[in-house]
Symmetry: C2
Amino acid sequence: MTTIKDVAKHAGVSVATVSRVINAIGYVHEDTRRKVEDAVRELNYTPNEVARSLYKRKSRLIGLLLPDITNPYFPQLARGVEDRMQESGFRLIFGNSDESKEKEKDYIQTFIQNNVVGLISSTNDPDSSAYASLNLPVVFLDRIASDRPSVYADGREGGRLAAEALVERGSKRITILQGPEHIRTAQDRFRGAAELLEGKAIDYHIVHTASFAFADAEKWARQLFKQHPDTDGVIASNDIVATAVLHEALRLGKKVPHDVQIVGFDDIPLSSLLSPALSTIRQPAYDMGRAAAELLIAFVEGTPVVNRTIQMPVAFVERDTTRKML
Amino acid sequence: MTTIKDVAKHAGVSVATVSRVINAIGYVHEDTRRKVEDAVRELNYTPNEVARSLYKRKSRLIGLLLPDITNPYFPQLARGVEDRMQESGFRLIFGNSDESKEKEKDYIQTFIQNNVVGLISSTNDPDSSAYASLNLPVVFLDRIASDRPSVYADGREGGRLAAEALVERGSKRITILQGPEHIRTAQDRFRGAAELLEGKAIDYHIVHTASFAFADAEKWARQLFKQHPDTDGVIASNDIVATAVLHEALRLGKKVPHDVQIVGFDDIPLSSLLSPALSTIRQPAYDMGRAAAELLIAFVEGTPVVNRTIQMPVAFVERDTTRKML
């Protein structure tokens, strides 16, 4: 039977490195990781035994780090993770980093002290050293980490779809609310929207927004219509910001969607209950949570993993903040 | 110096019972508890030493059980708990029971296995045996438990204020959406509203609603206007249900607040962003979370506690789903 030593020898790396790759623990350079994966395939190596020995005294506890539980999008992710974990007999403890790096480190520490066997993180900072040095498998959720296991939605396509929806429905002076610069999923959305508008030679403005939080959304909505009062189409960075934009537009006496069309991002439970109901780009949050849980379980149990990064599809949800197409 | 044995002798109970009272652990009959508290006072006993010996090997970890993190009200509570805990160097792990008794027991088990030194619970079922038998202090948050430490808002006054707001503003045919029957805070709201309307001899209808969840809110909103199409005032069981009622009223072509006035309950962050913005009864969720944390910390650290139940004030927040008073 093939052993982990055979794999290490074949790949020309140490046993520790093979173990790191197999268990998605810590950072391994992409080239090295490929070499190990090739060796695993060529030797038809089954890593279950390694996993078992590594996790001999394993708990069934998983840590889930969310950046902001007051944003209704994240609880949907959490429910997906939780349901899938429960099916396999794992339990979940949550941490809420509140978009603070210090709180995040604190929670990671708490998780480790409580012997979690794996971590799912929707951190704003996946490339932080706090993760690279962790001695347990981590899956990033709704976040993209360089060469680390991640589950996220196709933000670029989402941005493209949002811009296309506005253009097809006649908006000529579009404003994009650009989400936080340090969050790659947010920037992908922005880029997708900007690319489509540039391709169609349509003029657009950008309003920079530094967070996704409720507390700030009203401020940006006001700024938007102050700086660009003739905007007739808004691509919001998420549904909370879109809700604030809708509220501000109506407050200013604008008719939605007649005077200004609005497209959100996420499709939180509340969006369909707004008046008019919010047109938005749907991320399959619950399914993303499930997929991340499934990926982490595979790492924890030592099941071979084919795809370490999973990109999920998005869709335009047509409601009443965009005009009807003829 | 007075010892715990002196207190037990003075009160005519066992040392274990004194310890249970002092540390708010498990169930103690109210009469017994009073006897112990009197003895503590009369002998001027300082329980810190007991607490220290009981928690010699204590962690700094607290468990927080929430019934439904997809309801934006609970994350506000959680933030209050979290911020106050952090100030005293405690860390928090969350569980989400999803209104399921089984999940709740599961989380309590997880918390115990991870050596939490205390528990804050917004359970739907505070009188469950799962809590009575726990060997650590528990504080109920946004819930009222018989003779156990609890922090909650004055729901009866809230219901009264909601009904009064509608009556003063001219509603004649009021419908109350009655929240889940097994949750006492929900029933207090209902009772407060019903009492006021009966006192003013105003006719009202009741629509029973079995949960607070998003998934069901639209259903109840439809049922409301189907059963009582001439309703001109709605007292919703929370802001999510109120949002659904607003949406349904507008969908049916009713003018809000001209044809129908709506009052919610909670004041979640989104309520002010609705169009029209939601009039509601504000619960001080963040402060309630902080108060519960403070109470639990006192129990954990063995500080004498004067008030084991804290009722916080509510207020009517006038926005645009109620008519302006002349």
